[in-house]
């Protein structure tokens, strides 16, 4: 049975640059970057742009019981549904499948720091840890911490009520979310799906995990390709959601596509071996079906090493590619890295242009031709690799 064509018919974006496709297109055109090296100094982050969540999450009560990353995600999901023209369409939403890529929730840093300080000063016998946790953990916070509650909130606020799956964990989770959605739609197991992720970079608690591995960018912002001697990722903030559907389903309801999502492939390179990432990318590349080596490639390269150097090695083997690194502009948005790349690819295809390069090193080159094929690349800072091919609809 021939695989069905999968179209991207809705794109929702909220990030450190702003909200919506027009604002993003304009900001990218102006090479705008919203980085902050003060608020969590010495760490560099990209905070979410100010937004009134009321537009997509009308009930204050709903907003209150969400943490920031869930508000960002629920908001961006709403934008995607709007852009697909299915917002409020109960017949479609009731059978729309959802695959969300999510990390964990935000912690109450004040509670954590009080406990850790008490312990460090020898004032925390084990019994007291229980008592503090019992008394100070708030139920609302716990609910907001669960990975799958982003999907839950999207279901509640927007009424997306088909199957709901939450893939947990860093960059690979959203590559797989896109891969599974495309496979299911392609095989006729699903007609329409909402796929995406959200990330809030303005979180000291989140930096803990990445500090253990010394992955976070410190002291000074620099574009991703200019971090060779000062590696690391600046944690970013973004909600990126896509409505994907079969061509038949989209045509039957008269929906206009942004682009076609032709293929998504993923891998788990054995990174203990040097060069494994480069090799993984070389193996995946021919599976995409890129017809012309002068295509465009939007990468989520993080700036963390050795992954970024290995990716650069791969890119060096394809000198004709016009490369854009989302990390320079948005920071590293972790679970949202890949959907953000897909969203920008679909946006560029739909606008018939690629946005300008933003790279002092010259790795990124300008491209004036209308892009018809855009490869989206995702390499996790520690594990997981993937690629997608986004094309103009023929």
């Amino acid at each position: 049975m021939a695989e069905k064509e999968v179209w991207i018919t809705g794109v929702g974006l909220l990030s450190s640059l702003g909200e919506g496709l027009d604002a993003h297109w304009q900001a990218l055109g102006e090479k705008r970057v919203n980085a902050d090296d003060k608020r969590l100094a010495p760490y560099v982050i990209h905070p979410i742009a100010p937004v009134s969540f009321d537009a997509q999450i009308p009930k204050k009560g709903d907003q209150r019981q969400m943490e920031m990353w869930q508000r960002i995600g629920t908001y961006a999901a709403g934008l995607a549904l709007d852009s697909a023209g299915v917002k409020g369409n109960q017949e479609i939403l009731s059978r729309m499948d959802m695959i969300i890529a999510a990390g964990g929730g935000e912690r109450d840093l004040n509670v954590d720091l009080a406990i850790m300080n008490a312990d460090a000063q020898g004032k925390l016998p084990p019994a007291l840890l229980n008592e503090k946790l019992m008394n100070e953990l708030r139920p609302t916070l716990f609910l907001a911490q669960l990975s799958n509650l982003l999907a839950g909130n999207i279901a509640i606020v927007h009424g997306v009520c088909g199957t709901s799956r939450t893939f947990m964990g860093e960059e690979a989770s959203s590559i797989d979310a896109a891969r599974i959605a495309v496979a299911r739609i392609g095989a006729g197991q699903s007609d329409i799906a909402l796929v995406g992720a959200a990330h809030n970079g303005d979180r000291g608690d989140l930096l803990m995990l990445y500090s253990f591995g010394d992955f976070a960018l410190k002291d000074q912002y620099a574009p991703v390709w200019a971090r060779r001697n000062h590696p690391g990722f600046a944690i970013g903030s973004a909600g990126a959601f896509l409505v994907m559907e079969s061509r038949e389903h989209a045509e039957a309801r008269g929906a206009k596509p942004y682009a076609r999502l032709t293929k998504v492939v993923a891998d788990l390179a054995k990174r203990k071996q040097p060069g494994a990432v480069t090799k993984s990318l070389q193996t995946m590349w021919p599976q995409l079906g890129v017809s012309n080596d002068n295509a465009v490639l939007i990468t989520g390269a993080t700036g963390a090493e050795p992954a970024t150097a290995e990716e650069r090695e791969f890119l060096g083997q394809h000198p004709g590619l016009a490369v854009r690194a989302t990390g320079t502009t948005f920071g590293h948005t972790m679970e949202a890295q890949f959907p953000l790349g897909l969203a920008l690819a679909a946006l560029s295809i739909s606008r018939g242009a690629l946005y300008p390069a933003n790279d002092p090193t010259g790795l990124e080159v300008e491209k004036t031709e209308v892009p018809t094929q855009i490869v989206v690349l995702g390499v996790g800072h520690w594990q997981g690799e993937g690629m997608a091919l986004v094309e103009a609809v023929k």
């Binding site: 760490y43 953990l137 799956r165 893939f167 947990m168 964990g169 000291g204 891998d267 788990l268």
Partner: protein, 241 residues
């Protein structure tokens, strides 16, 4: 030979191996024996002090140990034991070379209190804030905590141990996670992407914080009520081909 198909023309999916570790015991035989004898795995928690906690019972697996202890390491160990049993029964593939992808249902992962406190004790400043704390986190001394507590860590380690193919998927949809793992496995076979999938569900998350948090949400019951597990501690592994 053509694979047998169902009435929709899809490959028929069968289960060829199962493994199980629960608070009742390790393995299918032991679990079945105790289950049919009417035994319960629910008992008073001994894993951590119960001072000031109202709920005191759980279906914790205490006959499996990991060192150093973390819920995440225990979850991983339980998954390994269940998978080994399932693979042995199935006879599929060879050691460290499972011919298909991994779908893993796993409890939420984050740095746990013993590890947080281990770092806290090394912060040189008194009354430290998050930036002081982060400075102590970095430098490589605690790099193993990053390996342990990334969300994808259990899946990464299982994929390496059992040699599953492609990108492993970790699922976190609360009590529906296990069903979702099986659903993804079945769908992949039906699409013809693979002949076999390894579907694993694991949860070893009885620890003080999860305990207090589920209590906050009234997910667990105090002891005045009939003993009952606050969350399912069961896990099963099914390999299908």
């Amino acid at each position: 030979m053509t694979a047998p198909r169902d009435k929709f023309g899809r490959p028929i999916v069968v289960v060829t191996g199962m493994g199980i570790v629960t608070s009742l015991g390790g393995g299918k035989t032991d679990n079945w024996k105790r289950l049919t004898a009417g035994e319960s795995g629910i008992k008073t928690v001994t894993r951590f002090p119960l001072d000031s906690l109202k709920t005191t019972m759980a279906g914790a697996v205490d006959f499996v140990t990991v060192d150093p202890f973390s819920s995440t390491s225990l979850s991983q160990r339980l998954a390994e034991i269940a998978t080994e049993e399932a693979l042995e029964q199935s006879g599929i593939g060879s050691k460290g070379d499972f011919p298909g992808p991994l779908f893993l249902a796993v409890a939420p992962i984050e740095t746990e209190w013993p590890q947080r406190l281990e770092v806290a004790r090394e912060v040189p400043t008194k009354d430290f804030g998050i930036i002081d704390y982060l400075a102590t986190c970095s430098g490589g001394k605690f790099a193993h905590f990053h390996r342990r507590f990334t969300f994808g860590s259990v899946a990464l380690n299982l994929a390496e141990t059992f040699g599953t193919k492609g990108s492993p998927i970790s699922l976190s949809t609360a009590c529906a996670s296990g069903a979702t793992a099986i659903q993804l496995g079945v769908e992949a076979i039906r699409r013809g992407e693979t002949d076999a999938t390894l579907c694993v569900a694991t949860d070893g998350s009885v620890n003080p914080e999860a305990w207090c948090a589920s209590r906050c949400c009234r997910l667990s019951r105090p002891r005045t009520i009939r003993p009952r597990a606050p969350q399912s501690r069961s896990r099963r592994t099914a390999t299908a081909s």
